[in-house]
């Protein structure tokens, strides 16, 4: 297939494997939207493996290739999510599609989220070929602040070839975090690449300051009523935390607290679990919603946000300025426990253990609701702007196709 393009508008390819939730895709989408807003001639194509329910409304300049979905079952282990085909066939199918996308889209810039070589190393071939055929193309790895425990990630990256792939195939690493909170590069063995690693700050949604008062009116809150918002992104594994939250809220209601609780389950929670939450909430001041538009506004309107410790929801809640109580996911990855602890150490939130009881959460809620709000300095939250600026300059060099510029921009190997 020809990969020469008559129109030479800038083309950016974003990859995320999305073996569990929607976080990687959401982060890539924010970056793509900002990039295309600043570079109206550019086309951003997102490759994602999200479950079938989570589509992306195409918008000018942005579209998606959704691969047949996979499900993460353990570290470095994934299975077909829907199709009942052998693992080897699904791997080959995804590789073939990726191959086709790289060959015909011929990106100037590739942004890979999290795993340098993708699931099953499925990016190794396409990235190698891109390197050979389009030496001026730039390849970026984007990492969230915390991946897993350093030991687990380092072992996996060594065994699965990500270490080597990163050094051979990538130009630069963007850490969507703040070195002052966590030194991602040091933790995951990227010290030798220090000159190529850039901390951009946390990537979170932009938008005008939300109108918290209007949202409180929309929710029908009366004077003196307090609002607790319970949310956890897609919600695929949020049921344990949310059922504890509903029970804690009922406990406080019984104790006479004028508390209204809004639980937003997220689109990925199983229908049976949603029904169980509704049963638990029956007859209380707890409302269960599957999905809610403008959740950032609701966060700003809340007196407290109860969540797990996922990257997107946590940074959005901090940006909204509401007090946060975190009950992190217990595992298998240490990511959320680590992040909750790091943020708690800086006074950004109250962290409870993964299996905290309703009593314990109720106590933390009372604590939070009765303590004066203290303005704690936030980590760098302008990652979207800074990462986009870096992507734009890489893109400019790549579309100019000048190997000299490229050379100065540097390559690891």
């Amino acid at each position: 297939m020809s990969s020469t393009h008559s129109s030479d508008s800038p083309r950016i390819l974003f990859y995320s494997h999305d073996g569990f939730g929607l976080g990687h895709l959401r982060r890539n989408l924010k970056l793509a939207q900002r990039l295309v807003a600043e570079e109206p001639e550019a086309s951003a194509l997102l490759i994602a493996g999200v479950p079938g329910t989570a589509g992306l409304e195409p918008s000018p300049g942005i579209d998606m290739v959704k691969l047949p979905a996979i499900r993460k079952v353990a570290t470095d282990s994934w299975q077909p999510r829907n199709l009942r085909i052998e693992l080897a066939r699904l791997q080959a199918l995804r590789r073939a599609i990726l191959d086709g996308v790289f060959a015909s889209f011929a990106p100037h810039l590739v942004v890979v989220d999290y795993l340098p070589l993708g699931v099953w190393g499925e990016l190794r071939e396409p990235l190698s070929r891109l390197r050979r055929q389009h030496p001026s193309a730039a390849v970026v790895l984007g990492l969230r602040d915390v991946l897993d425990s350093p030991l687990v990630t380092r072992r996996s990256w060594r065994d699965q070839g990500h270490d080597e792939g990163l050094r051979q195939l990538f130009d630069t690493v963007h850490v969507y975090g703040d070195r002052a909170v966590y030194d991602t590069a040091a933790a995951y063995g990227l010290a030798d690449l220090a000159a190529r690693v850039h901390f951009t700050g946390y990537v979170c949604s932009e938008g005008p300051p939300p109108d918290a008062e209007a949202e409180r009116r929309r929710l029908g809150l009366r004077a003196g009523e307090e609002l607790a918002l319970v949310t956890a992104g897609g919600g695929a594994d949020a049921f344990p935390m949310m059922s504890v939250a509903v029970q804690a809220a009922r406990r406080l209601e019984r104790a006479g607290r004028r508390l209204r609780t809004l639980v937003v389950t997220g689109p990925l929670m199983e229908a049976g679990e949603v029904a169980e939450l509704e049963r638990l909430a029956h007859g209380s001041a707890v409302t269960i919603q599957r999905w809610r538009a403008g959740l950032e506004t609701t966060m700003a309107a809340a007196d407290v946000v109860v969540t797990m410790a996922a990257y997107n929801t946590l940074t959005e809640a901090l940006r909204a300025g509401s007090p946060v109580i975190s009950i992190p996911r217990p595992g298998p990855s240490a990511e959320q426990v680590t992040r909750a602890q790091l943020f708690a150490e800086r006074g950004l939130l109250r962290a409870l253990p993964p299996h905290a009881s309703p009593e314990r959460l109720a106590g933390a809620l009372v604590d939070t609701l009765t303590s004066p709000r203290v303005a704690v300095p936030l980590p760098a939250m302008d990652g979207l702007q800074r990462a986009t600026a870096r992507l734009r300059s890489l893109l400019a060099a790549a579309t100019a196709g000048n190997p000299e510029v490229k050379h100065r921009a540097g390559r690891f190997a």
Partner: protein, 408 residues
């Protein structure tokens, strides 16, 4: 028997009809072949319909290419040329099909996709065990347009060489595809009429319940215009026609895509009359059809099939475009596909039809009166031999093809 694999390729035509039909077929196929894996390949932006895919099914989303009526086909999103986008879509599809090696591939309506992008994939599949089926809407387009397009793009040869079966989502009584499209005998032999692909009305609530929810004691006249983007003239005529039925209640559904100014005008005009309800959107259109005395609608595939399935008495007025819309150069132009469908159904006595050039309150009222006096309403039209279990029959054909392929 090993678990079978199926792939469907559904193009991204404007509107939701194609994806809705494909999802219904996937559901019927999963029911008929419960161990199967089914991959739906589409670039349609209407992804919310894909939420109802059954277990065992997944979808592969391609970058979108939108076809709009007669206008040029253009990339909807990416700043790429049409040829580049077609190459991108074709390349992905070919590789996916080569690796999935489905037992059967079903392609929707366009034998080579929207921009002929399927040719490499179809060529490759001829060397493999995959059997192929082309699914055609009851009326693809006006016959002369189909003949012109198929001649121009060499599609007669393509269907003869690359397809094992041609499944029509309609009946021969409405349109004889072989004759209308001038199919050579080698292609005609592959035809199978499967009937309309639509929801079964079995699950609908009783008319009395639906009427009482609307606050009505008795029947009513219903006008629906699909999304409503171009529905204003029909609703205006309908409101005028209501003068002839002063005793009857009426319900107008404007559709989500109607322009605000048009919707406001309709609401104002309706507001001056007693007994007239206006809704922007309803979730249970088939129930309303089943509960109505007469349905006035355009003649799109899904609306027509729902009318047939609910057995509603109906007047169909094919869509027409004013000059300048959808590339129309003449003063106005009728949607030929809808005209052929409406006339075919009227010939069978299943509906009444009114040509859009004659659309006026009095003429519409006359057609509605005639429809009110016909049949018993509220029961499907068995004498019309209009098969309405299209999805199940398409699924049956696909399973049969898979079995043949395995035996080959």
């Amino acid at each position: 028997m090993p678990d079978r694999r199926y792939a469907l390729f559904t193009h991204d035509a404007y509107g939701l009809g194609h994806v809705r039909r494909s999802v219904r077929i996937v559901r019927a196929l999963a029911e008929r072949d419960p161990g199967a894996s089914i991959l739906l390949i589409t670039g349609s932006p209407a992804t919310h319909w894909l939420r109802s895919l059954p277990p065992g099914a997944d979808h592969l989303h391609l970058p979108t290419i939108v076809t709009s009526g007669e206008g040029p086909t253009r990339p909807a999103t990416l700043a790429l040329g049409v040829a580049e986008l077609a190459a991108l879509r074709g390349g992905i599809t070919q590789r996916a099909l080569e690796l999935l090696e489905p037992d059967v591939l079903l392609v929707d309506n366009f034998p080579l996709g929207t921009r002929l992008e399927l040719l490499p994939a179809l060529r490759e599949l001829r060397h493999r065990p995959t059997r192929t089926a082309l699914g055609l809407r009851d009326v693809v387009d006006p016959p002369e347009k189909v003949q012109r397009d198929w001649q121009r793009d060499g599609l007669y040869g393509v269907v003869e060489r690359y397809y094992d079966r041609v499944l029509v989502y309609g009946t021969r009584e409405v349109l004889d595809a072989g004759e209308a499209y001038g199919l050579p005998p080698e292609v005609s032999d592959k035809l199978a009429y499967c009937g309309y692909v639509t929801e079964s009305p079995a699950a609908l609530r009783r008319p009395a319940a639906v009427r009482s929810e609307l606050g009505l004691a008795g029947g009513f006249l219903l006008a629906t215009v699909g999304g409503g983007g171009d529905g204003r003239p029909l609703l205006d005529a309908f409101l005028g026609a209501l003068e002839h039925f002063p005793e009857r209640h009426a319900l107008l559904v404007t559709g989500e895509l109607m322009a605000d100014a048009d919707r406001a005008a309709i609401r104002e005009s309706a507001g001056s009359r007693p007994n007239v309800l206006v809704r922007d959107h309803v979730a249970n259109l088939p129930e309303l059809m089943a509960a109505a005395d007469v349905v006035v609608a355009m003649a799109g595939y899904n609306t027509s099939a729902e009318i047939l399935a609910t057995g509603a008495r109906a007047v169909l007025v094919p869509r027409s475009w004013k000059s300048g819309e959808h590339g129309a150069r003449e003063k106005s132009r009728v949607d030929g596909e809808q005209l052929v469908r409406a006339e075919g159904l009227a010939r069978l006595g299943a509906v009444r039809t009114l040509h859009p050039a004659k659309l006026a309150p009095d003429a519409l009222a006359e057609a509605m009166t005639a429809a009110l006096g016909s049949g018993n309403g509220h029961s499907p039209h068995p004498p019309m031999r209009l098969a309405l279990d299209g999805a199940a029959r398409v699924a049956e054909e696909l399973v049969r093809l898979a079995t043949e392929g395995a035996a080959r």
